[in-house]
Each structure stands twice: as structure tokens, then as C-alpha cells.
């Protein structure tokens, strides 16, 4: 006759083997465990810093001093700070102008690279170069290109007799804005161009042949075949491009540090300056937190842009 202890042990083994069987056959259960490491990474490296940043934005924490909860005081303070609003304006200007030009030139380049030309592979590789060079390195190169005394652009224009004296690229507010935007465009174009090129290559050649026979001109082919077929990938690439540009920090910080007279301060650089350089972690965090609604808007845009269009639904024809 079995003792109570034996019976309990038997029950335990049974329930253990039950759970093991469950683990082996229930894909959801198994999938949950497989998902855990990824979830842990996301929590540790994404959710925690984001949460901490938002928490800091409602405190008066400074470097070296534990702060207390002060509600929305940081935001009220920022609301009355013209430099903050200038940085918001700059960020929008920077993002809008750079993204529009990156899209235009990137699409143009993609179409160019998609056509037959000699040394196609090499040219495609060259286009990727700005993307490969580390940001700070290219920022320093631009710094030299925009140098007040040794700028190659000023030199060339003077040699050609177009201007008489060096252009003050980074010393004058609007020049500085245009200069950093140009540098950002230079860096961002490869991403847009190569991604759109990949999109272009998925469009079957026979569609163009059909359009040719249907009597479409080159522009009509672009308008009625290329562009609509490319819209899903345009939505993806432009969302990412906007997110990257909106949160840009390295390029500005390496080239102008926000100057002259805060004319090139973006929200990210201002946040860094206030939080790390100035030591006001709470206020800096509030500036960063203020970026969240704009980024959410961009993500929502992509959410709708990324939704499969009606014509993409249903069975594929491959």
C-alpha cells in the first residue's frame, strides 16, 4: 500500500510530465518561452530608458542630486522658453526640407540606377558610400568643406569668379541651417535611393512592356505604373527617413553644436546640452519627451502607409 508521501510524489511527477508534454505539443506555450529573451532585451534596453526618460521629465533631477516629482513644471518652463521653441522650429525645418529633398533626389537616383548603364554595379556601390562613412567622420569632412577660410566651395566659386569673398557657411544662421541640411541630405540619400531601387526592381518588366503597347509615354509609365507600385515601399522608407532626421544628433553636434545663436539647435541637441552639459537632467528629459508626440505621429503615418493596400491582398500570382 502506498504511503501518502509516495502518492504526493507520484502526483508531482505526473504533473511535471504533464507540463512537459504540454510544453512539447503546445506551440503557444513553447513560443512564449522562446519569446522571453527578446522581450527581456526590449524591456531592458528600450522600455526602461524610455520610462526613465519620461519619469525624469517630471522631476527636477540634476546631475549629482536626486530630484523630486514636480509635475509638468519642466514643460511649463519650456513652453515659455524661446530657445526651446526655436529648436522645435529648427527640427521641423530640418526634417521637412531634408526629407523632401532626400525623397526627390533619392527617387531620381534610384530610377537612374535602375536603368541600363555601363559599370552599373560599381556606381551602385559608390552611391552607398555616404552611408558607410561614420557620421562624425563625414561631419568633420563637411566641417572642412564649410570652413570659413579653407572651404573648397568658397575657393572654387572665387576661382570661377562668381563671388569675391569666402562664404560664412556655419557662422550665419540661415547659411548654417542650409549647410547642415545639405550634409544630412548627403548622408541620407543612399538609404532612400537603395531602398527605392530595391522596390523598383520588384516591378515586373512585363508591366512596362504592356504599358508600352498600351501607348504610355515615359512619364505616364512613371505616373501610372512605377509610382503606384512603389507607394508601399515609399511609405516605409520615408517613415524611417523622417524618424532618423527628426532625432538627428551626431551630425549637428559635430558640425555646429547648435550654433550660431541656436540657429541649428534641434530638439535632440538642445536636450543633450541642457541635460548633460548643463546638468539639468529633468529639463533635458522634458525636451526629449516632447519629441514623443511628433514621433508617434510619424509612426501612425507609417502604420497606415504600411497597411497592405487592397490590390496587394488575395493570392499572389507567382
Amino acid at each position: 500500500m502506498a504511503t501518502d508521501a509516495e502518492r504526493v510524489r507520484a502526483q508531482r511527477t505526473e504533473s511535471f510530465s504533464d507540463r512537459w508534454t504540454q510544453l512539447k505539443y503546445d506551440h503557444n506555450w513553447l513560443g512564449f518561452w522562446f519569446m522571453l529573451p527578446a522581450a527581456a532585451f526590449l524591456l531592458l534596453f528600450l522600455t526602461y530608458p524610455l520610462g526613465l526618460g519620461i519619469w525624469l521629465s517630471v522631476t527636477d533631477t540634476r546631475i549629482g542630486r536626486e530630484g523630486g516629482f514636480i509635475g509638468l513644471e519642466n514643460f511649463e518652463w519650456l513652453n515659455e522658453d524661446p530657445v526651446f521653441w526655436l529648436s522645435v522650429f529648427n527640427t521641423f525645418l530640418y526634417t521637412t526640407v531634408a526629407s523632401v529633398i532626400k525623397f526627390g533626389l533619392g527617387l531620381y537616383l534610384a530610377i537612374l540606377l535602375n536603368s541600363h548603364m555601363p559599370w552599373k554595379a560599381i556606381i551602385r556601390a559608390v552611391v552607398l558610400l555616404p552611408f558607410i562613412v561614420p557620421t562624425v567622420l563625414s561631419a568633420i569632412a563637411f566641417w572642412w568643406i564649410y570652413d570659413t577660410q579653407f572651404s573648397i566651395i568658397s575657393w572654387t566659386l572665387i576661382e570661377m569668379g562668381w563671388i569675391d569673398e569666402n562664404i560664412n557657411f556655419l557662422g550665419e544662421p540661415n547659411n548654417a541651417r542650409a549647410s547642415v541640411i545639405a550634409a544630412n541630405i548627403w548622408r541620407g540619400i543612399p538609404f532612400v535611393a537603395i531602398t527605392l531601387l530595391a522596390g523598383l526592381q520588384t516591378i515586373p518588366q512585363s508591366l512596362y512592356e504592356a504599358a508600352t503597347i498600351d501607348g504610355a509615354s515615359r512619364w505616364q509609365m512613371f505616373r501610372h505604373v512605377t509610382y503606384p507600385m512603389l507607394t508601399p515601399i515609399i511609405a516605409v522608407v520615408m517613415t524611417f527617413s523622417v524618424l532618423f532626421t527628426f532625432t538627428d544628433f551626431q551630425l549637428i553636434y559635430a558640425m555646429t553644436r547648435g550654433g550660431p545663436a541656436n540657429a541649428t539647435h534641434l530638439m535632440a541637441t538642445l536636450s543633450y546640452q541642457r541635460a548633460i552639459m548643463g546638468g539639468n537632467l529633468g529639463e533635458g528629459a522634458a525636451i526629449s519627451t516632447a519629441m514623443i508626440p511628433f514621433l508617434l505621429a510619424a509612426i501612425l503615418f507609417s502604420w497606415f502607409g504600411l497597411q497592405r493596400r487592397k490590390w496587394q491582398q488575395g493570392e499572389s500570382d507567382d
Binding site: 512585363s206 512592356e209 504592356a210 501607348g215 504610355a216 501610372h224 500570382d317
Partner: protein, 357 residues
């Protein structure tokens, strides 16, 4: 509607000439099928008629006009592609209306033509659907609808049925033929499937390695192939070939093949005594020999009954002989059978040139 004339057309890609001077005349309202194995240049020829490929040399005329330098849209041709090439982001209606919209046609006219084409093809219920929501056969119809709406002088079909399953292919074959009988538009149809060619064509043009091997009506090609290529390409199961030498001395005319096998020949061939030839006989022209009939002995290898007929594969002179019987016989693999060729159906080809004798 118009006739199409192809005069000495050549095509080179770089230094490689793929079409070596092709002449084809297609009369008004005719349904001509270009058929041949892959790589024979038939699709390239079609694309040159359409204007998708430049013509290296020679002339293509549509309705009496030389079109060599004319862009596709001025040639007034419509093309149905193998993968249908439907615009995936346009509804069926817009796919069909696209060419007319580009031309700036009146909305009412577009509407009327699309409705009419949809009516002919039974596409009316699908006009508001996207191509992805259609089955393969329906997409194929939309591709044809797009061609019909344009009311072109010439229809060009580039292997339009290759992507369909076997049953649908047979059905669409009939539909295309019916459509042609109804619209009577000059049509050029490219396929590698000789059955499609046989069943659909008014006239077949057999191409091989960039030249026209033979052009003619389907049954004429079947009965009188000019060379071994056409003889072997047209007809399924394919014609049986045996190499050997014609002998007419010391008995009735016959073909001496390997291993001392002799195949009977009609007396008409006596004049070819001693000539090296290829002996061709179609599977349905082999019958079971009756007593005293001249025949050849063969060993049965495989028996493939399909119900309507039975295909018999047997070994003769080191090669295979296929024979088709409509009657049912009790064939058993491994046994021997006496096959008698119908003497007036035997084809002889020159062993060197492959040309019909």
C-alpha cells in the same frame, strides 16, 4: 484588321544572331501559330512585331506599312503576355480601360467598349475586382479583354496559356479559338506546345534555331513534314524514327537497320536502293500484323492504357517504337509482337540533311 508581312527578318543580340532571316506572310484575319522549342526565336519574332525588340535587319509590315521604326503604340497591335502583365494596382475595369484613357478617349466610349469586352469574356461580375482577387483563368481573360478593348489590327499572344493548369488550358484554348472566329482579328500566337498549335492554328509556322523549318496548315504539316525536325516536333506521341539503308534487291523494298532488322517499305522506294535514310512512321500507323503481312518483330517494353487508346512502347533495332491502338489488346510486357507499318504512311528522310525524300 490587317495582314502582317515578315520579310528577311534578322535579330542579333550583340554578336549573336538568334534569328537568321525569317519570312512569314500572315493574311488578314488569319490565326497563325509560331511554334518551336524554347530558344528557337519565336517569342523574339513576336516581340519584334510588337515593337518591343528592335529589328536588326529585314522588314516587318502591318497593313501595308513598314513598322520597323514605328513605336509600339502606333503599330496598332495588342499583346497578351504569358504572365498576363495586369497592372496589380488597378481594378479589372481600369486594366481594360487603361490604353483608352491614355489616348484620352471619351468616358462614355471607354465605358461602352469595356462593357462590351467584359460581356464577350464573361468578366462583367469582376470589373470592380483587383487582379489578385481573380483566378488564373480569369486573369487570362482580363489580359485578353485588355487587348479586345483596343480593337487592334493584330492580336499578339505570347504563350498565354503556359501558366494555367492542364484542364484550364484546354478550356481557354477553345475560348481563344472561339473568340477569334467571332472577332476575326489577325492573330499571331506563340507557343512551345504543338498540341496548342495544332488545335488552334489556321496555319502553323514551325521555328527551330532562328529559322522557319516549315509553314503550313496543321494537318498538312502533320501529313507531310518537310524534314525530321518538323516530323518529330509535330504530333504526340512523336513519330518513330529508325536509321538504316534502303534495300530493294533480292526481295521487296525494305529498310535495313541495326541488328539485321528489316522494316518494310512500299515499292515506290525501290529507286532509292543503297541510300542512307531515316525511316519515320507515326504511332497510329503501326498495326498488328495479320498473317502474311510484312512486319517487324518487336519486344513489348511498356503498355500505357489511357482508356480511349493504348500506347505500346516496344523495342526495335536498338530503339523504341511507340504504337497507338484504339482497340483493346491483351499486351504483356516482355512478349513479342509483330508490328506492320502502313506502307503508304511511311516517311523517308535523307540521313545527312534530314530533308524529306
Amino acid at each position: 484588321m490587317a495582314e502582317v508581312r515578315i520579310r528577311g527578318v534578322r535579330k542579333s543580340f550583340g554578336n549573336v544572331e538568334v534569328i537568321h532571316g525569317v519570312d512569314v506572310d500572315i493574311s488578314d484575319g488569319e490565326f497563325v501559330v509560331l511554334v518551336g522549342p524554347s530558344g528557337c526565336g519565336k517569342s523574339t519574332l513576336l516581340r519584334m512585331i510588337a515593337g518591343l525588340e528592335r529589328i536588326t535587319d529585314g522588314e516587318v509590315m502591318i497593313g501595308g506599312r513598314v513598322v520597323n521604326q514605328m513605336p509600339p503604340k502606333e503599330r496598332d497591335v495588342a499583346m497578351v503576355f504569358q504572365n498576363y502583365a495586369l497592372y496589380p494596382h488597378m481594378k479589372v475595369y481600369d486594366n481594360m480601360a487603361f490604353s483608352m484613357k491614355l489616348r484620352g478617349a471619351e468616358k462614355s466610349e471607354v465605358d461602352q467598349r469595356v462593357q462590351k469586352a467584359a460581356d464577350i469574356l464573361g468578366l462583367t461580375p469582376f470589373l470592380e475586382r483587383y487582379p489578385r482577387q481573380l483566378s488564373g483563368g480569369q486573369r487570362q481573360r482580363v489580359a485578353m479583354g485588355r487587348a479586345i478593348v483596343r480593337d487592334p489590327q493584330v492580336f499578339l499572344f505570347d504563350e498565354p496559356l503556359s501558366n494555367l493548369d492542364a484542364k484550364l488550358r484546354v478550356q481557354m484554348r477553345t475560348e481563344i479559338k472561339e473568340l477569334h472566329q467571332r472577332l476575326k482579328t489577325t492573330s499571331v500566337y506563340v507557343t512551345h506546345d504543338q498540341i496548342e498549335a495544332m488545335t488552334m492554328a489556321d496555319r502553323i509556322v514551325v521555328m527551330h534555331d532562328g529559322i522557319v523549318e516549315q509553314a503550313g496548315e496543321p494537318l498538312d504539316l502533320y501529313d507531310n513534314p518537310t524534314n525530321t525536325f518538323v516530323a518529330g516536333f509535330i504530333g504526340s506521341p512523336a513519330m518513330n524514327f529508325v536509321r538504316g539503308t534502303v534495300r530493294a534487291n533480292g526481295g521487296p523494298a525494305r529498310l535495313e537497320a541495326k541488328d539485321g532488322v528489316a522494316l518494310p517499305l512500299g515499292d515506290g522506294w525501290s529507286g532509292q536502293d543503297g541510300r542512307s535514310v531515316v525511316y519515320g512512321i507515326r504511332p497510329e500507323h503501326l498495326v498488328l500484323a495479320e498473317a502474311g503481312q510484312r512486319s517487324v518483330e518487336s519486344e513489348i517494353a511498356v503498355v500505357e492504357p489511357t482508356g480511349a487508346e493504348t500506347l505500346l512502347v516496344s523495342r526495335v533495332a536498338g530503339g523504341e517504337f511507340q504504337a497507338v491502338f484504339r482497340e483493346r489488346h491483351a499486351f504483356r510486357p516482355g512478349t513479342r509482337v509483330q508490328l506492320a507499318p502502313l506502307l503508304d504512311k511511311v516517311h523517308l528522310f535523307d540521313a545527312e540533311t534530314g530533308q524529306r525524300l
